[in-house]
């Protein structure tokens, strides 16, 4: 029998999130979407870099929308891990948790007595997710840095951009936003295994290794065919042969407005000719067959661009789609916020955040489970917002014990603006 309210798959799961910045915290966000109770532990003294990262609505510890994104749906607890009583609280949290997420340089957790072996002694069946750039082992294990360096080092950057231009995709630290999908998928599988067997495990994610798995055929093509795949603009290539044309991003009316068009078949090509009102292209020897279009893709791209520039992007997208051609405008941030499909899916969730009020909606994850849909449980926390709630309500400390821990300096409270 269906329950009255939509339950989450992970309503019974507790997550202790000790990671920082982006990749680790986003695993916590994914757990929270599906019902887990996620406690983010951080320091109010050595604050998360994300708290200073744009978009910022001003100076102040709670004014980063970036932090708000990375911690959507969580509770916040600020602890001093170098304080003995602070470590005592962490020990209680470990006993409370099913999953621990961390992203420190390998060896750091061990200094606090929180390495996997000791966590499992304290809480048999615990699942620990460790996210690092290079993994827990190997000669580069201790290298510190951020996702942007992995974007370069993994080979991903070399696959994005124009052949005559810079390696691209550096506006974001791209690996930080893809590896949480990998780690969280594996961790939920590990939870299922734990429930069946009682056995937990250590999930060791190296951003390098996960990211290399997103490079398609680049590794086997190099090792089998000695072909080195490098960035190729918007061509869709099989090895080095294009197999769709037009396949590109073309200007539309306005400043920095673009439409992506991908035509694979003769029917789709014919529809492109119709919509762009260029009947003459059908008889142009350069364009008559897919093979010809691929061979002449530079002149094809130039010709298509000349036509698309006359059109409003959204209207052109709708007309091309109605005619059966894959097309989509390259949304800027306004475009995403106003996209009718995302709005239809309820992607944007109204929230009331302590700093941003209702100006910053929560955004849902695009895997919708019909009976246990994802939800945004609460806005991102303010710093140290749930110190008392976590200790009293989640961990069961008495008010006296809580006061005692405050007096002992185990908890941190933010003293700045």
């Amino acid at each position: 029998m269906a329950e009255q309210h939509a339950a989450g798959v992970l309503d019974h799961v507790n997550v202790l999130d000790m990671s920082w910045v982006a990749a680790g915290p986003l695993c916590g966000v994914l757990f929270a979407y599906y019902g887990a109770t996620v406690v983010r532990v951080e320091s109010a003294v050595r604050t998360d870099l994300a708290r200073n990262s744009p978009p910022l609505t001003g100076r102040g510890i709670n004014k980063s929308a970036y932090y708000a994104s990375m911690n959507l749906g969580k509770y916040d607890l600020c602890l001093d891990l170098n304080n003995e009583r602070g470590r005592e609280v962490v020990a209680r949290l470990v006993e409370w948790a099913d999953v621990v997420i961390e992203g420190f340089t390998p060896g750091t957790m061990a200094q606090w007595g929180l390495d996997y072996e000791r966590l499992r002694e304290r809480k048999p069946g615990i699942i620990m997710i460790s996210l690092t750039l290079q993994g827990q082992t190997g000669p580069l294990a201790s290298m510190r840095g951020y996702g942007l360096q992995v974007h370069g080092m993994s080979g991903m950057a070399s696959l994005i951009g124009w052949p005559d231009g810079w390696p691209a995709g550096v506006t974001l630290a791209y690996p930080d936003y893809i590896v949480p999908l990998v780690a969280t998928y594996a961790a939920v599988a590990a939870l299922d295994y734990r429930d069946r067997t009682g056995e937990g495990q250590h999930v060791d994610l190296a951003q390098m290794e996960a990211t290399i798995n997103f490079t398609g055929t680049a590794v086997p093509d190099y090792t089998v065919n000695s072909r080195l795949q490098l960035r190729a603009g918007n061509r869709l290539l099989a090895g080095d042969q294009p197999y769709a044309a037009p396949h590109g991003v073309y200007p539309t009316q306005g400043d920095d407005r673009w439409i992506a068009i991908a035509a694979f078949t003769q029917e789709e090509w014919s529809a492109v000719c119709d919509v762009l009102e260029r009947d003459d292209w059908r008889s142009d020897a350069r364009f008559t067959t897919l093979e010809a279009r691929c061979a002449n893709d530079e002149s094809l791209d130039a010709a298509v661009a000349q036509e698309t520039a006359k059109h409003d992007g959204r209207e052109l997208m709708e007309r091309l789609q109605r005619a059966g051609v894959a097309a989509g405008v390259a949304h800027d941030q306004q475009g995403v916020c106003e996209d009718p499909q995302l709005i239809h899916r309820g992607h944007f969730v109204p929230l009331r955040h302590g700093e941003f009020g209702d100006a910053l909606p929560g955004e849902l994850f695009g895997a919708r489970l019909s009976e246990t849909p994802p939800r945004v449980q609460r806005p991102a926390p303010l710093i140290a917002e749930h110190n008392e709630f976590v200790l009293r309500e989640l961990l069961g400390y008495t008010q006296d014990e809580f006061n005692d821990l405050v007096a002992a300096g185990a908890l941190e409270f933010y003293g700045g603006e």
Binding site: A65, G152, T171, L230, Q241, A244, D332, A367
Partner: protein, 419 residues
């Protein structure tokens, strides 16, 4: 024997997806599920996409097919024929999860959609992978990787100003939705085992791309909070109020720096001094400079300052090769990494130490193919490549035989073009 256990070994998955969702099936297979890839008798479309082994365009040689379908078993089945549909129903009766990427409504029209099959198997998890989702104004839109990146907002940020945005040479949005579908499917599978109740997972490529757009709402906040749009900016980050260079040319390519002004900035200055390249940075005050909101003891430098620092840094780092930069970064804990190609990483000492790459014998075509290894290492139930991707119809006899289809019956089905 910890390595023989796998997390998902009790589960069976039927995989009907095309390119957009095929990696999801591989993700289930490599955590141990028995994943059966079902393709039309003429072969899945991905088999026709190169590059091919030794560039010989044959269906059992597509490297894209290999990387998306490793570790699965494979059968052929024509789902448009009644006999095919009946076999499919029999497979579903023993499956825990179905992955499909048909246009919304297409399987319902064949009489084998989720609503039609759930009645027969209440704990069934059904994962639909599409460009935009099962309903809404874009429901019937055609999708491609490029279009997914575009409407998800990520494409706009990739490339250089003054030129069109650019995709990656590998189809990123397909990976995003595949992992998103794997996550959604895994959650539903977990729930079904706990409660006995299955459900449908509707995975939208466009919507999942918005998550990889810097996390949920991080980048769109430029618009919702500040009525601003940030755009792509070649070798750097342009956050409107702050432009920060990430890539620098060196002797044999590029290096990537997330920010010069990190905890390693004082060390960087010392090294530049050592090489007589510090210029104005020799002034002590720069040791505490930052580009971000200053922490106690730091001061925030201006964009002009940052531009000048980056120019000095560029002329210094440009003297080195990538290997020299990596070794300097390791020795001095600098957060500067080389920009590699996939070829550079094949001989990586780090990846070799972790046993990352998987060399797999393909006996049928007499070659060994090197694959990226596990994207994540699990201590007790490894992520493991079990086998190379199936040849066309490779497991027909096994899979249909286990259903009780006799050899003679299978032959009849083959002759009728059902398998």
């Amino acid at each position: 024997m910890p390595n023989s256990r796998q997390a998902l070994s009790p589960y069976r998955v039927l995989d009907l997806t095309t390119e957009i969702g095929q990696y999801a099936g591989r993700a289930f297979a490599e955590l141990g599920a028995d994943v059966i890839k079902i393709e039309p008798p003429g072969g899945d479309a991905v088999r026709r996409i190169g590059p091919f082994v030794r560039d010989e365009a044959k269906p059992d040689r597509s490297l894209l097919w290999f990387v998306l379908n490793a570790s699965k078993r494979g059968v052929t089945l024509d789902l448009t024929q009644p006999d095919g549909q009946s076999l499919f129903r029999r497979l579903v009766a023993e499956a825990d999860l179905v992955l499909e990427s048909y246009p919304p409504g297409a399987l319902d029209a064949l009489g084998i959609g989720y609503e039609q099959l759930r009645a027969e198997r209440s704990k069934l998890v059904w994962v639909s992978v599409t460009g935009f989702g099962q309903d809404g104004p874009y429901r019937d839109y055609k999708w491609s990787d490029l279009v997914g990146l575009a409407l998800g907002g990520l494409l706009y940020l990739w490339g250089e100003q003054g030129r069109p945005p650019t995709r990656a040479r590998a189809s990123q949005a397909f990976y995003h939705v595949s992992f998103g579908a794997a996550l959604g499917g895994m959650l539903a599978l977990y729930h079904a085992r706990r409660t006995g109740r299955g459900q449908r997972v509707d995975a939208s490529m466009q919507e999942i791309v918005t998550f990889t757009l810097g996390g949920p709402g991080a980048i769109t906040a430029f618009w919702s909070l500040q009525r601003q749009n940030i755009t792509r900016s070649g070798p750097g980050i342009n956050l409107g109020s702050m432009i920060s260079r990430v890539l620098y040319a060196c002797q044999d390519g590029h290096v990537a720096v997330s920010t010069i002004f990190g905890p390693h900035f004082p060390t960087t200055i010392e090294l530049m001094k050592r090489d007589g390249a510090a210029g104005f940075l020799a002034d002590e005050k720069w040791r505490t400079a930052t580009r971000f909101s200053p922490l106690p003891g730091q001061w925030q430098c201006t964009q002009e300052d940052a531009d000048a620092v980056e120019a000095l840094f560029a002329s210094w780092i440009g003297r080195f090769t990538r290997a020299e930069v990596l070794s300097m970064a390791r020795e001095h804990e600098l957060m500067i990494f080389p920009v590699n190609t996939v070829a550079d990483n094949i001989d990586s000492e780090q990846l070799a130490a972790r046993g990352f790459y998987q060399r797999v014998e393909h006996e049928d075509i007499g070659t060994t193919v090197t694959y990226p290894g596990a994207p994540v290492v699990l201590s007790e139930t490894p992520w493991r490549m079990k086998s190379h991707a199936p040849m066309l119809g490779e497991h027909n006899a096994d899979v249909y035989g286990a259903l009780g289809v006799s050899g003679a019956e299978l032959e009849r089905l083959r002759a009728a073009g059902v398998v």
